[in-house]
Symmetry: C2
């Protein structure tokens, strides 16, 4: 564990945005104090640390708060550049590709699968399943280009895009359990299917990702308090 001054993370165990930050800290071997938040009764520390969004995750480093999961992961990579593996690729073109696909995973894939859980009708659910599978199709192609034949998006080991997509896998499992939806199906996305397996076997995944039942329980609790909630309240 590296020396790091005071480091606190405000989080929600099942949030993909939080999971990716915890994965980044795990990769770097950085210790931190984890403080679970209740997003329905947002506490004083969360309101004070992230007044604009009041969302998790917030990393508080020596008293200075940083919000937005992708900004935090890059911050961790830059502050602890000399500690543990690099999270962003070294080559500028590979870095750009990782950033572009990370933005895609968060703006296209994530809202699509959240939509499956939150659909009001079966017709709407089927539409969101289609959107999810279309996004997975794009990421299957992206995997082919980014991985260059290796096991992970980043090559031989886990990197930025692995964390961004990998932090969503918990909910793919939950979707299968709750709705029978197979998000990454070996016939349609063979590269991603192999990656899901490999990623799940890393220490990063094993140490950070909670059991699927935790996600299922959280969703069940949310469904009973659904009125007026948005995606932002769901998971960040």
């Amino acid at each position: 564990m590296a020396a790091e001054g005071s480091l606190k993370l405000l989080g929600l165990t099942v949030s993909p945005f939080v999971i990716r930050v915890r994965m980044a800290l795990q990769l770097k071997g950085i210790g931190y104090e984890y403080i679970e938040q209740d997003l329905f009764t947002k506490g004083e520390l969360l309101r004070k640390s992230n007044p604009v969004y009041m969302k998790v995750p917030v990393l508080i480093h020596d008293g200075k708060p940083i919000c937005e999961s992708l900004a935090i992961v890059q911050y961790v990579d830059e502050v602890w550049a000399a500690t543990g593996p690099s999270i962003l690729p070294a080559d500028p073109y590979d870095r750009a590709a990782a950033r572009i696909w990370a933005a895609y995973a968060d703006s296209k894939l994530l809202p699509a699968w959240v939509g499956i859980m939150w659909a009001a009708t079966e017709e709407e659910r089927a539409e969101k399943v289609d959107d999810t599978l279309a996004a997975i199709g794009q990421l299957e192609e992206a995997f082919g280009k980014c991985s260059k034949g290796k096991a992970f998006f980043a090559g031989d080991s886990v990197g930025y895009l692995d964390l961004v997509v990998g932090s969503q896998l918990l909910w793919f499992e939950a979707l299968q359990k709750m709705f029978g939806v197979v998000v990454v199906e070996v016939g349609r996305a063979p590269l991603l299917a192999a990656w899901v397996k490999q990623f799940g076997e890393t220490d990063t995944a094993k140490e950070v990702v909670p059991d699927v039942d935790t996600a299922v329980e959280y969703l069940t609790k949310l469904q009973s308090r659904r009125a007026g909630s948005t995606v932002a309240q769901l998971l960040s």
Copy 2:
């Protein structure tokens, strides 16, 4: 002008996403071939270079395409790290702040002012004006923190967040001209009002930003072809 291999930019003169990329290249002193696109009849090169989004800007460097304006600006900063000024701040915390506020400017401010132009009713327009002014209020606070009392978001000279917000100023002018909306009003946002003036006097702004009439003409043309258009088709 630095040696840069083959560099092409597919763009739209009035697009804030394109303007910020051109500003980054101007700051670095990098020459490039600029190829204006017609977004209603997306050409072969755009379709081939950016098959996922088919949007501008696309930077093609030695035959390799990079899309998404924020990824391109960071790419330019990284590839030509030794050429011209740094665009991203050097300090990781300042970099995180610049990235967080850049995301804010694009996800909150930009859709709000696009909404003013695109509102179907006066009531909707008033709502979008309120959203725009609320976002400007947040950015006024951000300016106070990021600039540390200097003239620009990045301090003594123009940086990442200056480009991201500065690339939208053309449309603030257009909004005033077409709808009488004053987006950055000195009484409500004195720091930003001073910054708008300073930014407009930089070579970066003078060399890249087209005349406001170009934007007004473009919007007039768009309005006549409005049906089925989205924000993405408007400006990227």
